[in-house]
Symmetry: C2
Subunit: 330 residues, 2 copies
């Protein structure tokens, strides 16, 4: 900037005025400064600017597990869309479902003075954020609530969606409903399996624990679980999968069987309607989670002090065929 000032034969401050389009600058001076800027390829340093101005880094952070997962990339898209409207930039980091890395990323982002942070938490204790939260940095938790901390949270109606799926299967006469799930200690998993138990109990149906397979996040494990289930002396007449990745693995495994069980998966996925038997799913809107998070975040940045909110994003069952297959004749 000093260089520009010299080149234009004016003071530093005048350059600053021109760069920021402040009024009260002579047209000729402005012109001269613009020329010097163009000639030198000068570009305002927003880092220095935000340092001077306090905390206006105009940047927010997002920590997710894996941007390559469509669920998270949709969230990111929704968030960035709103951020662009506010002229904010978005820094995205992948925690890889690692609590330690998550914490490192949070710290790295806070050191960079992001003004707010959206987190899909992998960790199990977020009390370390309490001090920062009190200082005024907004944290929005997505998909899973924080532990040991109170703040804004946006989650799916996991339990409700799960209940709806199981009720749907029951209404078609299924009584032996298997579940292939991920880690039941993770919030979403816990809620979804709870919906399963709850609905069975509601209908007075005893629960056969041998039909429940956990920790099947890896495709291979989900496929194995499917094969094991289908090889039982009395195989399940329906299968409920608790996530899109698991659904796809299960469906891949199911191809080799002639007697197809009914199937419902949590999370919608591309081409679910195009498979030989179109797949019934519990669908929801991930991008809406992102935009909702952004709305709360920017409201907080604008000074909103309403109590922390828990937003529950609705799910809906999309019946496409696989969930409406009847049980085999008894």
């Amino acid at each position: 900037m000093q260089d520009v000032a010299n080149a234009a034969g004016v003071s530093l401050k005048t350059v600053s005025r021109v760069v920021n389009n402040e009024p009260r600058v002579d047209e000729k001076t402005r012109e001269r400064v613009h020329q010097a800027i163009a000639q030198l390829g000068f570009r305002r340093n927003d880092i220095a600017r935000s340092l001077r101005q306090g905390q206006a880094s105009s940047t927010i952070g997002l920590i997710i597990e894996d941007i390559a997962n469509p669920f998270y990339s949709s969230i990111a898209r929704g968030l960035e869309k709103v951020a662009q409207q506010y002229n904010y930039m978005l820094i995205i980091s992948n925690s890889e479902e690692n609590a330690l890395r998550e914490r490192e990323l949070v710290n790295a982002l806070l050191r960079r003075r992001v003004e707010g942070l959206c987190i899909v938490p992998a960790g199990i204790d977020h009390s370390y954020l309490a001090a920062e939260l009190r200082r005024g940095t907004p944290f929005i938790f997505l998909d899973r609530p924080p532990l040991q901390l109170q703040t804004d949270t946006i989650v799916l109606d996991n339990r409700g969606g799960s209940c709806q799926a199981i009720r749907h299967l029951l209404s078609y006469g299924h009584r032996r409903i298997a579940v292939i799930q991920g880690d039941p200690r993770v919030y979403t998993g816990a809620e979804r399996i709870a919906g399963y138990y709850e609905t069975l109990a509601e209908h007075g149906i005893p629960c056969d624990e041998s039909l429940i397979y956990s920790n099947c996040d890896e495709a291979q494990l989900a496929q194995q679980a499917t094969h094991t289930l289908m090889s039982l002396p009395e195989p399940p007449s329906a299968i409920f999968s608790t996530s899109n990745r698991i659904s796809i693995a299960v469906l891949r495994a199911l191809r080799s069987y002639t007697q197809q069980p009914a199937f419902i998966g949590f999370d919608d996925f591309d081409l679910a309607d195009m498979l030989p038997t179109p797949i019934t799913v519990v669908a929801h809107d991930p991008a809406a989670m992102g935009t909702r998070a952004a709305e709360i975040l920017f409201a907080r940045l604008a000074g909103s002090t309403v109590p922390f909110q828990q937003t529950i994003v609705p799910t809906r069952l999309i019946a496409r065929g696989s969930g409406e297959l009847p049980p085999p004749q008894a």
Copy 2:
């Protein structure tokens, strides 16, 4: 930091030394400073740090069209993976295929002093980057080469992949091969359709322009094109689609026909192998494009001055069934 210094009864510089783990600090002093830091919830301001240190913002930028598109989110993932290894943060922005917005985003990112920038360009003239490039900021162009600018570029073997697909169809006896494509003025589109023409010419097969539908990026237009093609007095015996989004729309439209044409699509997609007729595709590795871009970028940041490179990422044909359907008996 001054507060910490006061609380610990030491000078500013000593706190700085402790924060940055510099040697030559007395253990007791270090301990006292750490306590003060913990008590005050102090966190180093990396913005001020990078201001002082020159240009080490440890941040890189990525401009793509839409992070919700799996092609781009895979690129982002590959890039971020490498960035994490270098302790760099990644700012992702969506240009929405808008040249003006792209330019604004580039400027906004440069003002924030990203150290390098990866761009999937939407614009048609990148000469405005020349000055910045000469100053030493590395730009890596992804998927499409820059126009009016020389810099590192990573593109797919678009033409080769296209040729391979058409040759494959020809080898199965197809002579009337339709193409449903996006905007043929976009680099990737131009290359892919060129591969089509080239291969037909190679085999001395006259090209029927009425079998080529362009600007079908919108699902609805692609479906319409498909229906029009299938309703021709002499419909094509094979269809080639130039992108995953178009492929999915075309396949959706094709469901209503009993006589299925052969089909090959550029870009692989999830569940392509699970459809009633598994889909033959020209596949490639988007994540590899991201990691490759990151490698070049960090090499440049480390001072590499080798000439600009054009990396061509290979494609490969995955025959799954749809591309091996024979033409109807003449």
